[in-house]
Structures are given as structure tokens and as C-alpha cells.
Amino acid sequence: MRVVLLGKGGSGKSTLAGLLATALADGGDRVVALDADSVPGLAQVLGMEPSDDYFLAGMAVREHGGWHLTVSPEETVAQCAREAPGGVRFVQWGNADAHMKDFEISRRKFPDRWSGQVAFNTIARSYDDEGGWVVVDLYGGTLQVANGLAGRAGVAVVVVEPFAKSVLTARRFFDMGEWPAALRLVAVANKVASDDDQAYLDAELAAIGLPLWASIPADPAIARAERDGRPLVTLDPDTPARQAMSGLVDRLRQAAADTPVTAGT
């Protein structure tokens, strides 16, 4: 099943994507993590050396007037994913340097990267693994979701902090229009430091109409690891944030069990 992480910049999408992917892999499941962000974050959370590589460079070609993957999505991931220490297979979009310039110039100058971006977008939109998990970490804000990168099936998790800006961002996601029927939009609270924070988010999310699937506490162990640039997979499994992930994992496993057939993507 696909799980897509959305939210405001800095809300903890990469952190939760990494902890979630690791928790699912710890349970023996197949997990592919896709990092759609150009700022390397998820690689570090998973304990990989951050790199600027376009993992899918050259994996799409332009023919018959459109772009196509050179091999099937499954084969693309099998060939290009790199193994992270926790057993998660990892694929990243790449670095923004070629992207930020004029599109036509960058396409001619960096054809492989361009092809890699196209291939990544195709995978991020539609790749699924029946019986396994695909965890997609999107860029902060609504832009990639507006462009369809959240896909059409699975669970879209809005990561929400107990802050007004984060809640306003969650509301924007909810109000974007008609979400695909097979893609459930839910919220996960992050950095919750008090009962007051929890009560604030309970009220705000209820007002928006977003179901809250889990609450991850503010955790000094995570803050220390982020400060020192240490991978979060090395954290003590008993640390509060990792413990709280088990609630989300349970909800997701239940959702996967309740989904009769993998919806076409």
C-alpha cells in the first residue's frame, strides 16, 4: 500500500517517513521509501549518506511525443533503489540544481537528470507494491499534491504540528478539491509537547474534518539526533516518538487489511 507524507515545511514529514518506513521494515514487511524533496532529509533519517544523485537518471525516454519509463515501474525500482541500513529500499528524486534553471536549458544540458525527474514523478504518482509498502515523502506545501504526486490510492498523511501555520497548511490540503476516492486523507500530529497542544490539535482538526490517526510527542532524543546529524534508525526503540509510531503502523496495517484490492493507479 502507498503512504504519502504531506505537510508544512519542517513539520516532520521526512522524520516520520523515515521512522514509519523503518517500523514497517522492522516488522518484516517490504518497504520502498521515495524522497520527492530536493533537500536531502529522508536519506539521513534512514542512515544513508546524503547524495545529490538522480537515482532514476536515464530511466525515462521521450518517444512518440511523450515520456515513458524504459522498463516497468517494478523493474525501475528494482534496478535503481539503494538499500538503507534498516532494510528499507530507498529512491530519491535528486537535487534541484538542474531543475531551478530554465526548463528547456536544463533539459538539453542535463538530459539524464531530466529523464530521472520524469521517471521519478511517474513512480511517485503511481508505483505501488501489493503486500508491501511504498512510503512517499513529498516537498512541503501543496504544490506537488496539486500536480498529482500524492497519487490516486492509499493513505495521504498530513503531518501537523500544534502551530497555527501548520494547521492552516493542513486545511489547505483538505480544501484542495475532490481527493481521489481510493486515497484517504488523514492527519498525524507531531511535536506534541503537552495536553494543551493535544487539545488544540483535536479541536482544530475536528473543525477541518481531518481524522487524527496518531500523535507523535515532541521527543528530545529526536531533537538531539537531528542536531548531531545522526540517523534516527539508531535511536533507542523505546524512545517516545518511536513508540508512538506503533499506533500509526497499526492504523495503516488495518487500512491495508480493509482495502479489498489494490486500486488501479
Binding site: 508544512k8 515545511g9 519542517g10 533537500v39 501543496t142 496539486a146 501555520k165 492552516l168 497548511t169
Partner: protein
Amino acid sequence: MNKIAVAGKGGSGKTTVAGVLARLFADGGHDVLAVDADNNPNLGISLGIGAERTYALVGTREELLPLGPAIASPMEDLVDRFSTEAGDNVRIIQVSKYDNFAPG
């Protein structure tokens, strides 16, 4: 005119710093235009105009798109048309907001 750009990683505090700078310069007697160029625009909250008013601010891109590719207006006209009073010598303008699924 002085132009100050604030950049950094998501969640590092760009919007908070920009909002505080805008208010401080305005307190010092300057007219300030606060430009929210983030495509997830929250600067209104840091300026203190509240979540509802921030949510309701238009995206200049979204307003201009239906008008076609030609943007003939001078920059000053765009600022006049699409900026909003944020109180105490500060006006705010949002560049874009991507608040709907793209068609197709």
C-alpha cells in the same frame, strides 16, 4: 527602496523572521510590502492578521492565470491590485498558493 530576502530550510523560521522584520521596519517609520513568495503562504499569520484573513488572501499567480500569458501591467499596478492592508504601514502580497488540484 531596500529589498530583503529570507531563505532557508523548511521549518527553520523564514516566515517568522520575515514577519518580525516587516513589523520592525514599519515601527521604524518605513512603508513595508511583505511579499510571501512561498507556495505554501503563511506570512499573514506571522504578521498577526490571523489564520482566517491569511487563508482568504488571493494568490497573484492564480488571479493572473485566467487572464492568459500576457502580463502587461507594470509591477506597481500588480502590487496595488493584489496586495492587502496588514495594518501599521505594512501591506502583504501573496505570489501563489496552489490551492486546487491541477486539471487533468
